[in-house]
């Protein structure tokens, strides 16, 4: 009973949802964006400190929302810290595919450990209305690195 629920709400995810990592403001962040999922009321801010070489030195978030959105944001901060912005963008596309397609192709260059961590949330594929919960933090990160101005993204503008 409830096998797909167990697949979605794994221990690791529940733990990240309850005790999100890097849940703080970065005072000297040079990239940040506000993400909003108006249908569910999820909202979060993603902060990045990117150095001159394009490496994410620090990454954090604050906000409120369901277990999936909080866990996804928390896990994203752990996965992306220390990586280049270019890698982060690649992993965003990879994660997005994992959440929406059964045979994700853009993940070929990622290492196994990263793939394993990203795939923790891919159970959301079985819950189409929840995909936007899982991808909200990533969309917000993507918007932040694309723009030097603080920006707002919303899952109701066609993104999932």
């Amino acid at each position: 009973m409830f096998d797909d629920l167990r697949e979605l709400y794994q221990e690791v995810i529940l733990d990240h949802g309850k005790r999100p990592r890097n849940f703080r403001c970065i005072a000297d962040a040079n990239r940040q964006a506000h993400g909003n999922n108006p249908i569910c009321g999820d909202m979060l801010v993603v902060y990045l400190a990117v150095d001159g070489g394009g490496v994410i030195r620090d990454l954090a978030f604050q906000g409120k929302g369901c277990a999936i959105s909080m866990a996804s944001a928390s896990m994203m901060t752990e996965i992306l810290k220390g990586r280049s912005v270019a890698e982060a963008e690649k992993l965003f596309r990879c994660f997005h595919e994992m959440c929406t397609k059964d045979d994700a192709k853009t993940c070929e260059n990622a290492d196994q450990d990263t793939l394993d961590r990203l795939s923790m949330l891919s159970g959301v594929r079985e819950f189409p209305v929840r995909v936007k919960c899982a991808t909200l933090a990533w969309h917000t990160m993507h918007a932040a690195v694309e723009s030097k101005q603080p920006v707002e993204v919303s899952t109701e503008r066609g993104q999932v």
Binding site: F2, D4, L5, L8, Y9, L14, I39, C40, G41, D42, M43, K64, G65, C66, A67, I68, F127, V129, R130, C133
Partner: protein, 423 residues
């Protein structure tokens, strides 16, 4: 047995509510035989939209299969039959809400359009800068945004009548908001997010004492209790068909005839004109003045059938049945640790909105769904209510005439699964 007969039999010969045979009524709703994820469907999202009885579905199929044509136009037989059916639906609706005249019943696309119609015609024509519109803190967005659009266009002032911690309407605070500048009071009859039934007769009396017009949002009221627009004394009353077990795409604006005939048209087109020339066009009176273009003909027929259906069951019987469900659900849910019910007004329709300490409303919704229980999770298009209670979202079980205590038990069991995952 023909469709609907089981419903009629469910109450026949006995006026006591014990005669409301819910198992029999359930047989009128084909969708209730469906399963989701291999479990029997427990549909507790009636506040968003209600399921349709066979008699509604059949009435629409019959219209398309045997007499469909455009209305009010053709000289041919089908057009006459379709027009008769369409206008018969209007008469049914007029009787349903005890409207003094059938010409006071305007078919719109839904309750949202009905409110927009009043704001865009009555509001634009008769309100001046500085005039005031009073709404409440628990309005659906559809009874907030049309007035904000009017505010931005006309420079009127929007005032918000408060609610208390139980979700009750605060009558004396509302009275203090009223002034000679108050021109429109637009307030819900039953809150979709909290279930609160507002003291509408008092609201109307106080508004009329200042010369204001009153629009009532009756979407969540008409499926659950008898509504008599004359007894309420309101000036406008709106509701949608789809929450009343009828089809989507059609709703009702009722208004006092003298007001309606003083209002400019809403949209221009066919059907609403008396005569057209390039120099001057004159308009028909209500209802046709406000029904430009080909209307939702078959939807009107379906709405008429839905009105027949609930009337045959009896709104008092339906209300009593649902009150029993509300009391039972409130009692069982209140005993769950960490669960908090939002909206505990004394006078309440069968809507139970709740939050849980352990889990976000959306996670609750997903888990309940896999247990076959359909609830709404979110802000219910009433974000100011959510802000009032300091939450981003609630889970909401909203009951209809076909729900059972056993289904409440299934809901409670499913909440147990939520606690298993998140506890």
């Amino acid at each position: 047995m023909t469709p609907g007969q089981s419903a009629l039999k469910a109450v026949a010969g006995n006026n006591s509510t014990a005669a409301f045979d819910v198992e029999r009524v359930r047989q009128d709703f084909p969708i209730l035989r469906e399963t989701v994820y291999g479990r029997p469907l427990v549909y507790l999202d009636n506040g968003a939209s209600a399921q349709k009885p066979r008699i509604v579905i059949d009435s629409m199929t019959k219209a398309y299969e045997t007499y469909y044509a455009n209305v009010h136009r053709g000289v041919h037989k089908l057009s006459q039959t379709a027009t008769d059916a369409f206008e018969a639906a209007r008469e049914k609706v007029a009787r349903f809400i005890n409207a003094p005249s059938v010409d006071e019943v305007i078919f719109t696309r839904g309750a949202t359009e009905a409110i927009n119609l009043v704001a865009a015609t009555y509001g634009r024509a008769f309100l001046k800068p500085g005039d005031e519109v009073v709404i409440s803190h628990m309005e659906h967005h559809s009874n907030i945004v049309p007035w904000q659009l009017l505010r931005d266009e006309k420079g009127i002032v929007l005032k918000i009548a408060p609610i208390d911690d139980e979700g009750g309407f605060v009558l004396d605070a509302y009275e203090k908001l009223l002034s000679p500048k108050t021109k429109i009071v637009a307030i819900t009859h039953v809150s979709n997010a909290l279930g609160t039934i507002t003291p509408m007769r008092e609201i109307v009396r106080l508004a009329h004492a200042r010369g204001a017009r009153v629009l009532v949002d009756g979407c969540q009221a008409v499926p659950h209790m008898p509504v008599d627009v004359q007894a309420l004394g309101a000036d406008f009353y709106v509701f949608s068909s789809h929450k009343l077990y009828g089809p989507t795409g059609i709703g009702v604006l009722w208004g006092r005839l003298d007001l309606l005939n003083s209002m400019p048209p809403y949209q221009g087109g066919g059907e609403m004109i008396a005569s057209v020339s390039f120099e001057k066009t004159t308009y028909k009176n209500s209802p046709h003045r406000f029904e430009a273009g080909t209307p939702a003909i078959v939807e009107a027929v379906g709405l008429g059938a839905a009105v027949d259906y609930v009337s045959a069951l009896g709104l008092d019987n339906i209300g009593a049945h649902e009150s029993g469900l509300l009391a039972y659900a409130t009692e069982r849910l209140s005993r769950i640790d960490g669960l908090e019910i939002h909206g505990r007004a004394k006078d309440k329709a069968a809507i139970v909105a709740f939050v849980m300490k352990e889990a976000h409303a959306h996670d609750i919704g997903t888990i309940l769904d896999r247990a076959g229980v359909a609830v709404r999770a979110g802000h219910h298009c009433a974000q100011p209510v959510m802000d009032r209670f300091g939450v981003a979202a609630t889970a909401r079980a909203s009951f209809g005439l076909y729900n059972t205590k056993k289904e409440v038990d299934t809901l409670v069991d499913a909440i147990g699964v939520v606690k298993e995952f998140f506890g």
